[in-house]
Amino acid sequence: MSIRVRYFASLKESLGRSEDNLEIDGLATVNEIWRYANPDKALPDNCLAAVNMAYVNLIDTVKDGDEVAFFPPVTGG
């Protein structure tokens, strides 16, 4: 399945890129998507995740065509 992975803010800066486009086989959780995309780096503890612009848990599964996003705690307002 095809998964678009996006990174924001300080996480984007520390990874040095804003997105990945993954092609993977079978099912995967959000957590596994992170590991596919960043095999050498643990997801920072406080980071949040969204699938198709809705907040999710790291153990939720993703499906073909999903957009998965990782980002630090939000600081707007």
């Binding site: 996006r6 924001f8 803010a9 300080s10 612009m53 980002f71 939000v74 707007g76 307002g77």
Partner: protein, 148 residues
């Protein structure tokens, strides 16, 4: 209801006024308006701040703001809501956000506007990077709890 992401500096009072005038159905019906304006300060955590960049997640930000406003209007009898949030490069003293809530009675206006602001601060995907006077850039790590 109206939710706007603004790439340019905006005048919060003017936005509220224009929106209020545009809403013919509201005339005579609202007894209470609660407006909150967040403005960039020139100091934070003991440092002089000379600029800020506000990043957001286009699409998700709007979606989350709509969800927050819908939560507020389902909890309190609200006539209308306006939310405008700035993104991009911001200077001290410029408005960052305005939340306006129109209701018949004042308690609901206060409750709903505060709810929207707190939810926005914890759930809407915006990120602030400060530029300090010392030329250091620093990402804000966490918003403070506004109910404390």
């Amino acid at each position: 209801m109206n939710i706007k992401i603004s790439l340019e500096a905006f005048d919060p009072m003017r936005e509220v006024q224009i929106y209020q005038h545009s809403s013919k159905e509201m005339a005579g019906k609202f007894g209470a308006t609660s407006i909150f304006i967040g403005t960039m300060r020139d100091f934070n955590e003991g440092n002089d701040v000379i600029g800020m960049t506000l990043e957001h997640y286009p699409g998700m930000t709007e979606k989350q703001l709509e969800k927050i406003v819908a939560e507020a209007t389902s909890q309190w009898p609200v006539l209308d809501v306006l939310v405008v949030h700035r993104v991009g490069d911001i200077l001290p003293n410029e408005p960052i956000v305005v939340v306006a809530v129109w209701t018949s009675h004042r308690g609901n206006a206060f409750d709903a506007s505060r709810y929207i602001m707190e939810a926005l601060k914890t759930k809407a995907p915006f990120w602030k990077k400060e530029l300090l006077k010392s030329d250091v850039e620093r990402w804000l790590v966490k918003n403070t709890d506004g109910y404390l």
